[in-house]
């Protein structure tokens, strides 16, 4: 009978214990506000929010042991030399060389060549046609490997850490850890990731290879793959498949740390080469800081007519015509 008032009393006592006066509350709130404002007014020198400059090697890296120098792999794609292999009469040789070298299963393309219309706008085309500045219309080709972003959206969203950026600046995937959620594919603003939707065809040559994140073989079902920038080839002192496969030498591969890149034909100083040719990075405004640079063009330096549209369809490894392909000739 008399339990009711007891409960009420107890409750009130409990409440009183936790009571905070208005004055105390205001003090606490004021203190928090003052603290947060003090941080905001700190001089800029005390805060480290300066963006890193990609092209200047950092002091820390310069002082590192020169024998164990940390490479910073990068790529330059000179679109002035890229005619989408129209002059060869074949599909883009960078893509095919990559497909054959990495045993990329159909229909993946780790380096895919896209054809951009240079002027979308009808009115713009008319205006340019009237002027003398060539070209008034047409397309350009853009070979797109993985951009190897230094602020990689794919790495940021991966729930299990199956994709990460190595100290050499290459983003790799561990297919033994990947859970196949495809969040990275949704996050990649360049669409450079592919999924093995079914059981991928295993080439006989890859069957007994031990799996490594650097060559991603043998392929598995239900996980994500992408261009790995050929770190094993680089370590062996060779160019990636796409660079050596390009008949026009449009793809340079190099080291930002040493400031040198090569297309297999000539060696360039990266900083000078990029500045002199006003290089750009794909979707720079997104802040992903890619390691792949482009020099704008439409194959004009290998004599391509920009009005000549179209790419030949890409081929992949299959058992019948494995050794009858053009890319081998161009690598020799």
């Amino acid at each position: 009978m008399n339990t009711e008032p007891d409960i009420k009393k107890e409750k009130e006592e409990n409440l009183r214990k936790w009571e905070v006066s208005r004055r105390q509350m205001l003090k606490m709130m004021g203190g928090t506000a003052a603290a947060s404002m003090a941080v905001a007014w700190l001089p800029n020198d005390l805060r480290d929010d300066q963006p890193q400059d990609e092209l200047v090697p950092s002091e820390a890296l310069k002082d590192a042991d020169s024998e164990r120098r940390l490479r910073q792999w990068m790529m330059i794609i000179d679109q002035r030399f890229c005619d989408g292999c129209q002059s060869q009469g074949t599909a883009p040789q960078c893509t095919e060389a990559c497909n054959f070298g990495h045993f990329v299963p159909e229909p993946m393309q780790w380096i895919e060549v896209y054809e951009h219309e240079m002027h979308h706008d009808e009115g713009e085309v008319e205006a340019l046609r009237a002027s003398t500045a060539p070209p008034a219309e047409g397309s350009s080709f853009m070979p797109t490997p993985c951009m190897q972003c230094q602020n990689p959206p794919c790495v940021n969203v991966c729930p299990v850490g199956a994709t990460w950026t190595t100290p050499e600046g290459i983003t790799l995937i561990d297919q033994n850890r990947c859970i196949g959620c495809r969040m990275c594919m949704a996050a990649c603003p360049y669409e450079r990731r592919s999924f093995t939707w079914g059981e991928p065809p295993t080439h006989p040559a890859t069957e007994f290879i031990e799996h490594s994140v650097e060559h991603q073989l043998p392929m598995k079902k239900g996980v994500v793959y992408k261009c790995d920038f050929c770190p094993e080839m680089a370590r062996a002192g060779r160019l990636p498949f796409c660079a050596s496969g390009c008949p026009n030498n449009a793809i340079y591969y190099g080291d930002l740390e040493e400031d040198i890149a090569t297309n297999g034909d000539q060696v360039v100083r990266i900083s000078e080469f990029l500045t002199a040719n006003s290089a750009y990075r794909h979707k720079e405004e997104l802040g992903t800081r890619p390691r792949v640079y482009y020099i704008e063009g439409h194959g004009e330096l290998v004599g391509r007519d920009p009005r000549n549209h179209g790419l030949a369809p890409v081929r992949w490894v299959d058992d019948e015509n494995e050794h009858t392909d053009h890319w081998e000739r161009s690598v020799e």
Partner: protein, 443 residues
Amino acid sequence: MTYSTESLQRHTIEAMQRFSRTYVIAFAILLTLVIIGAAAWIYQIREGLIVTGMRDRITWGLYITLFVFFIGASMGGTFVSAALRLADMGWRAPISRGAEYITVAALLTASLFIFADMGRPERALNIMLFGRWESPLVWDVYGLTTYLAGSMVYLYLAVLPDLALVRDAIGEKLDPVRRLFVVMFSASWTGHPRQERALHISLQVMTVVIVPVAVMMHTVTSWIFGMTLREPWDSPMFGIYFVVGAVYSGVGLIAVFMFVMRKLNRLEAYITDRHFQNMGTLLAGSGGVMVFFQISDLVTAGFKLKTGAAFNLYQLADGAMSPIFWTYIWLGLIVPLALMLNPWTRTVLGVLIAAVLANVGMMLERYFIVIGGLRVPLNPYEPPNYAPTVTELLIVLGLCSFFVLVIMIMMKLAPAISVQEMLETGELETVEKELSTAEGAAS
């Protein structure tokens, strides 16, 4: 007063014991669908996701769409049972039990949809082993497990006195499985004042905890999309946009559930037209906010017409997504809102129609957000298309049946209306008064 308490107990307990023909047939059909779905899922695991309509460009399809939808459904349950408890609204009492069932069942189903979508479901534990706190998906997984655990505790606390009621009333007469369940989970509840006080405090605490957890859960779900750089998704508004959509479809789902349960269990005396009218008001409110967010989203994107956003708007207005988009706008937003804002159509039937339309509409909206967002090309190529395959549809159908089945099983484990809450809120008296005035008017 005493008479109606007894009759309520009798009614709800009778409903628990009765396995009507409709119930048995529905149960059998749903179980068959679940088994077919499970078979389709095994086939999908063996062959890989190649058996779905998803490919490299459109990498998420119906599974993720329905995952988002079911998270939304759970949100409605929490809104009705916990948020209305916080606001001290008595009329929630006869609905809250069903709302809590929907929350738990919808969260279970949503988590299964994640598994269905994974390329490597057997590696799901990697999220716990190697989880990176930076990833929105990890927030989602931990949010979902927290929310599921929290809503189960909340449901259990609310159902505890009623389980004891069943144990005391018909404990001996129940079949052995349910007897074991009821005896085990009623946990020596006697209704002693100390027990009641402990329960009351725990329920208060859980109510305060579960509402922000629910809001957090849906915000985090929207961030799976909002944290990417894709044009229609890359919007700071996504969190609240998804939460409001979730409340809208969730409230609708509860109204549908109320209607079916009232019919099946003959509980017309306790779930009255007034309850439906109140649900209609909630539908109108959340639908109105949804319209506001829809307009904000379309107008801010449509004014600037950035490349990706422009593509998205054109595909919604008269492109590949237009049938879905306009069905959603008219049947999913405008018609339900018109029905619910007009007092003449805010009847039981009107609320049912509006609730079904709101749910269909929100499912379509989730579809064009997920697939429409992935359809926006990021490189120069022909925009890809997506169509679910038969396997995909069977799995989806199986999981939706699983959702209903879980609710149907829970319906037979405890009283469908919380007797405890009806007494505590005084709702029983209100209902009783309503009945007697109606009878008086009739005679």
